[in-house]
Amino acid sequence: MPKLTLKDLQKKREEVKKSVILREGGDYKAKVTVHMGTCGIAAGARKIMDSLLAEVEKFDARDVLVTTSGCAGLCSREPMATVELVGKAPVKYVDLDAEKMKKIFEEHVQGGNIVTEYALAYGSEKTSY
Amino acid sequence: MKDERLIEAIEKHSQIEGSLLNLLQEVQQKFNYLPKEALQEISDEMNIPLSRLYSIATFFKNFSLTPRGKHSIHVCMGTACQIWGGQKLVERVGELLNIKPGETTEDLSFTLDTINCPGTCGLAPVVMMDKEIHGKVTRDKVAALIKKYQG
């Protein structure tokens, strides 16, 4: 590997910053939960997750927390995800696919506008923290 | 002493200034002690008086001029371990192996030493078996450890 210059070092830092930023904890403007129960996974929750993570990376959205939860109890409408903007009620989305997830991310998570056509209801189960 | 391991170590460390201590550490690690012939060889190769090597070998605690046991037991005598009864563990190991700190069992299986803190005070009292650190050691646990290493 060639020796770094000042510019190279700066470039390198930009490149690697993302990998570490998620380890620092901190405040989030939004939390997206993908429901990963057995039925969720069977219905394609993994593709939802992949699409979501790709969006997070694309927008370099460091203030979005991506998490999973178990079965939401509404197995027939899987895959599902819940979007919770800080200070707002959580919104549940159902019957998702990768494209829908992308749209939800861009309009709701980033833009703050609920994508009503995919939304099921407001409200959420309690989490343990 | 024409030993591959020794020649290699001398070659590696004679390149770096200030590396005599590192060289002796490596020899100690490879032979489990500092053989007289090895010191002679270092003296010849690096042009250092044997008396100076001898003074270093006896000043620093890590070095031994006699062969050490196959396994080393280091009982920590740091402050936190002292507070948690480390002294009693030294006595216990001594009693089990019939040796005092600094001594090696006749069959060359164990050497008992004290160590001034490997820095895992949160786990006191601590015993190091070879390089492995064991924490919250009790009378029974140290006996079991010795048994394990005997087997």
């Binding site: 000042l6 620092e24 | 620093f60 605690k61 402050t79 002292q82 005070c121």
Partner: protein, 601 residues
């Protein structure tokens, strides 16, 4: 570079490694693959988290969930529940003493709340073996800044303005030391990192080297630039094999990136570093001894002046700073002296890392602003006394420091307050003693340590400390006299005034502080022939409560079988008794009795 949904930060400090952290990681990776989560979840081995009492520790980021005391068999359940199904597992979380509900998030645990991280800013966030992780956290940005924008004099001025003082014990202003080294004449100059943490009962420096070796290298490179040195050494004690390994690894990576070596970042500045392993001698932490041992001589101290900044390694100007001092440097350069000097007290700026151990609930490593009180560290951060026993003393500064009583818990930790109380900051080792620890024995322990570690060069240390040890040993065996106390004080002052180096000068501190704060314990040993803490076993009498032996223990016979002196009479099922003529007072019966039937007086 891929980003992961979850980062599993596994503590790989020496403490957690001895609690099987590496096996835990293997188990995690296996389960993550099994659940097809390898693209979403990443495991990272980090440096010491600090909360050693809860090891092995795993933190799940970005949620900040804190898991403790994990075992390999817990991992399949944890991975499935939390990583796959998103349900953090309560039973592996930390529950504070006296509470019933566990605390899920690391930052809500009181151990972490009062901490302010500068030297430890990367602990638990980066993989200490990955230079890219360090760079991602603004690593080597301070070096870029000075090489592109600052003259050596500016760097020195900035460090001086920050008020940073040596974290190795003495508290000498770092910027001033650098200035002296810069002004000293000599073509070749050196910088050294003192990682020979000799204080038995302290592990700050080990943890910093293990958790963040690059911050030390960056700090040293900045220091070398400031004073005009081209060569550095990191002197690590060989008792810290993991720290040695990580430092070697970090140096190799930095060289590969051109952050060490010739023409660093195309600035024309050259600097190189080698690691020297200490060889088990305490006095080598003293700077002139350290220099002698790097020169390939025995590690004996030399009189000062001349100071190493004028005439050090191979006669050249040499600037030695301790690990923690170096670790502060990049942060100060990057964030500015104004930011740094706002933290701490008037004379002691910034933070201090302490290792807290002994009879304490949450033993571990903490970094707090200067000026916090000893009591706040012991009770609010480290959870108070183990098993809710009574606090007796805090031993601060190791063999060079002192034993401070409960009255001193209100003392703020800064260089001046601790010195005034008869102790010293030292490198930051705090060991807590409770009512079961004897303070005379404590003083004897420290003296025994310094006697063993005295290099023997000067008479006050060699003979004086041995004489004090003799007296203390006699007192712990019940053979002391009241005159001994005066003699101890005289000897202590004489040694303090005349010994050649810091080891000798400070060796009497534990004796002087125990005499000052715990004189009644000395008197109990001398006049009543009793050890109030029952630690001096020669003064104890062991007896068996025969009624309890039968009613509680059913004459279990364990004490008799463990007695090496055949001093216990009795048989299984019946009451046991100790033959006082044969009893060697080893105390083993007291330790092995599970029914509290053996009494000590």
């Amino acid at each position: 570079m891929a980003s992961y949904r979850l980062n599993i930060m596994i503590c790989a400090g020496t403490g957690c490694v001895s609690n099987r952290a590496f096996q835990i990681r293997e188990a995690f990776d296996k389960e993550i693959r099994k659940n097809s989560l390898e693209k979403e979840v990443l495991t990272v081995m980090t440096g010491c988290n600090g909360f050693c009492a809860a090891g092995p520790i795993v933190i799940v980021q970005p949620e900040g969930i804190f898991y403790q005391k994990l075992t390999v068999k817990d991992i399949p359940f944890l991975v499935e529940e939390h990583f796959l199904k998103g349900r953090p597992v309560k039973k592996f979380m930390y529950t504070p003493p006296k509470e019933t509900e566990p605390i899920p998030k690391m930052n809500d645990i009181s151990f972490f709340q009062k901490q302010v991280l500068i030297a430890l800013r990367n602990k638990g966030i980066i993989d200490p073996e990955a230079i890219d992780d360090y760079i991602a956290r603004d690593g080597y940005a301070a070096l870029s800044k000075i090489l592109s924008k600052m003259k050596p004099q500016d760097v020195i001025a900035e460090i001086k303005k920050s008020g940073l003082r040596g974290r190795g014990g003495g508290g000498f202003p770092t910027g001033l030391k650098w200035e002296l080294a810069r002004k000293a004449e000599g073509e070749q100059k050196y910088v050294i990192c003192n990682a020979d943490e000799g204080d038995p009962g302290a592990f700050m420096d080990r943890s910093i080297v293990e958790a963040d070796p690059h911050t030390i290298l960056e700090g040293m490179t900045i220091g070398a630039y400031a004073i005009g040195a081209s060569k550095g050494f990191v002197y690590v004690r060989s008792e810290y094999p993991l720290a040695v390994e990580r430092m070697h690894n970090a140096i190799a990576q930095s060289k590969e990136y051109g952050l060490l070596g010739d023409n660093i970042l195309e600035s024309g500045f050259n600097f190189d570093v080698d690691v020297i392993q200490g060889a088990g001698v305490f006095v080598c932490g003293e700077e002139t001894s350290m220099i002698a041992s790097i020169e390939g001589k025995i590690g004996e101290p030399k009189p000062r002046p001349p100071y190493p900044v004028e005439k050090g390694l191979w006669g050249s100007p040499t600037n030695i700073n301790n690990v923690e001092t170096w670790a502060n440097v990049p942060a100060i350069i990057l964030r500015g002296s104004d930011w740094f000097s706002k933290i701490g007290t008037k004379t002691s700026k910034g933070t201090k890392v302490f290792s807290v151990a002994g009879k304490i609930k949450d033993a571990g490593l903490v970094e707090v602003p200067m000026g916090l009180t000893l009591g706040e560290i012991i009770y609010d951060v480290a959870g108070g006394i183990h098993s809710d026993k009574k606090f007796k003393a805090v031993l601060i500064g190791g063999p060079s420091g002192g034993c401070l009583p409960a009255d001193c818990l209100g003392l703020p930790v800064d260089y001046e307050s601790l010195t005034k109380a008869g102790a010293m900051m030292g490198s930051g080792g705090l060991v807590v003693a409770d009512e079961d620890n004897c303070m005379v024995e404590m003083a004897r322990y420290f003296l025994n340590f310094t006697k063993d570690e005295s290099c023997g060069k000067c008479t006050p240390c060699r003979e004086g400390n041995a004489a004090m040890l003799d007296i203390l040993t006699r007192i712990t065996q019940g053979e002391g006299t009241m005159e001994d106390l005066d003699l101890l004080e005289d000897l202590a002052h004489a040694i303090k005034d005349t010994a050649l180096c810091g080891l000798g000068n400070t060796a009497p501190n534990p004796v002087l502080t125990t005499l000052r704060y715990f004189r009644d314990e000395y008197i109990a040993h001398i006049k009543d022939k009793k050890c109030p803490a029952h630690e001096c076993r020669q003064l104890n009498t062991y007896t068996i409560d025969e009624e309890r032996c039968v009613s509680e223990g059913h004459g279990c016979d364990v004490c008799r079988r463990n007695c090496a002196y055949d001093a216990i009479m009795g048989e299984k099922g019946k009451a046991h008794r100790i033959n006082q003529d044969k009893c060697a007072k080893c105390g083993v019966c007291y330790e092995v009795c599970k029914f509290a039937a053996v009494k000590v007086d």
